[in-house]
């Protein structure tokens, strides 16, 4: 699945936060081509902050983020657009445009960034919808389909321009276990068959063990990465108790009721 050593995202000494508040302090990691990389951590540790910095929504305070060799923090104008065209993002809520049908949602980037004729755009958009198993819903509005379907449509939209990297913000949030498992299978299928690199923020343990090739574990106190590697190995062998507890779903007082 993953081609080791060939990195596609490099983060070096990234410091990020909001104003005076620093949330991530000098963190560094690499994401390799074709792998499913999961960002983990307790609530408020900066998972979403990291994701939003990776996709260039927020300005970094120091350090650098290279997306496929290009520094997203310093890119502007057309260069930035070129980077955006190589990545796809699925937001937590789906963020489909409510005034457009699913097909139109996916056709929009194709319409703006390519010169493909209409029938070709329509066909490619329909292909992407079929890939996420939404055939027959092309002309539905986002409000007319379920939450799980909206997420799948959002993945299809993220893949409209065949990006090399797709970022997923909590793909299984608010979904039932079956839909969530289906989404995991879809992500695995896409990674294996289309060679897309996925960067995923999620809390779902089942998801993590199913899809993740590698995880990083962010920590609120140290504002850095406290663990990195294969989740199955971390579950058993991590030196840090909190990480083992997280993977083994141990709560306060060892998960037993407080007397």
């Amino acid at each position: 699945m993953s081609c080791e050593n060939e990195s596609i995202i490099n983060v070096r000494d990234l410091t990020a936060g909001y104003g005076e508040v620093i949330i991530l302090d000098k963190i560094s990691f690499d994401v390799y081509k074709g792998e499913i990389f999961v960002i983990l951590g307790g609530s408020g540790c900066g998972k979403s902050t990291l994701l939003k910095h990776l996709i260039g929504l927020y300005k970094i305070q120091s350090g650098e983020i290279l997306i496929d060799g290009k520094n997203i923090a310093q890119a502007q104008g057309e260069e930035l657009t070129a980077i955006f065209n190589r990545i796809g993002v699925m937001y937590q809520s789906g963020a489909l445009f409510g005034s457009m049908t699913l097909l139109e949602n996916i056709m929009l980037p194709l319409e703006e960034f390519t010169q493909l004729p209409r029938e070709a755009r329509e066909m490619i958009a329909a292909m992407k919808l079929k890939l996420v198993n939404l055939q027959g819903f092309e002309h539905f509005m986002p409000s007319e389909i379920s939450g799980g379907m909206q997420k799948r449509a959002a993945i299809a939209r993220a893949m409209a321009l065949d990006p090399k990297i797709v970022f997923l913000d909590e793909p299984s949030a608010g979904l039932d276990p079956i839909t969530s498992a289906e989404l995991d299978q879809l992500i695995l299928h896409l990674a294996q068959n289309l060679g897309i690199t996925f960067v995923v923020v999620t809390h779902e343990l089942d998801s993590i063990f199913t899809i993740a090739d590698r995880v990083i574990f962010l920590d609120k106190k140290t504002k850095g990465i406290i663990a990195e590697g294969d989740p199955k190995e971390l579950k058993e062998k991590s030196k840090i108790e909190f990480v083992r507890e997280f993977f083994n779903r141990v709560g306060v007082n060892g998960g037993k009721p407080v007397q």
Binding site: G98, S99, T101, L103, L110, F113, T114, Q115, L116, P117, A120, E122, M123, I124, A126, M127, K128, K130, L131, Q135, E138, H139, P142, S143, M159, L161, D162, N193, L194, G195
Partner: protein
Amino acid sequence: MPQTKSEMQYEVLQTAEDKLKLSLSGRMDANSLGQLWTELIGLVKERNPQQLVIDAAGITYCDGAGVGFFLECMHWQQTKQGVCTVDNLRPEFQKLLDTFSSLGKTFHLEPRPVLDVKGIEFLGNSFLRITESLKDQIAFCGELAVHLLKAFKNPLKNLRWADIYLVIQRNGLEALPIVLLVNFLMGLIMAFQAAIPMRQFGADVYVADLVSLSILRVLGPLMTAIILAGRTGSAFAAELGTMKVNEEINALYTMGLNPVRFLVINRVLAVIILIPVLTLFADLAGLLGGAVVFKSFGYPMITYVKQVINAIRINDFLGGFVKSFVFGFLIAAVGCLRGIQTKTGASAVGQSATSAVVSGLVLIIVTEGTFAVIYYVLGI
């Protein structure tokens, strides 16, 4: 001869009457295909071969758009009972092609179904929609009345005064400059336009009567209401509409809090309190506008003041004043109603705001007309 365009090249070989060979090389992505798609598909359709062979040995990169092109060629050949083969595609791209072709033979869509509504059906639907909306409005008015009465039973406990003050500040105090400006100019323009023809008859001193009567009876309250419909009605609709979209209104319901009592009553009350005050200022600004023109025509101010005092009775002023309460109630209520009726999505909020202003304006004009008749009958 190889055709060169962007990063993708193609070569056509007509090996036999019914056999076409297409050699493709370079990058096959949405960008390079954007320029060549129509040309290549057109070529295949024009030559109409029984057997189409696509030699993809030279393809260095192929993504979803490239696969789309292959599938389009295959689909076309299939509809013509022809054959299409893609040869020498690199294994990684072949895997991509297999992934998509396993999903189905064609990705062509049925055209979007258009609702075919016949004339009479359309009429019926519209009638139903209008009656439905009327029903909603009546129910809303009833709910509003009930909650207003309840609120007045124990105003200190049942009303959220902090919210009311905030609404008064945002929609009253902050609207004062625009209300003053518009009404001042209204008085000024009206006096100026009237003075020119009246002067020819030596009646320009009566400009003061004209301005004062029309400002106090009609224009002061009306202009204030129109400004408030645009400023406050739309703001209420957008605010409550966003709350509806974010499910905040649903949250109120399920907490057992009535949204009308919680969100609408304070807004309606605040507007009823602030609009007469704004109207008072509007009247003064209008009279001042008239006075400026009057003065510029060489009359002393005392003449203007005496003319105005002679022309108007207390009923003229009170008539306008009473109207403004009704205007305020209607603007706030219709703004809140449209907000609460908002459907889902960002565009729905925009529609609610638009609809709040339009309904507000219509209600203002209808009320204005109704009051004119009532005042005429009552001799006010």
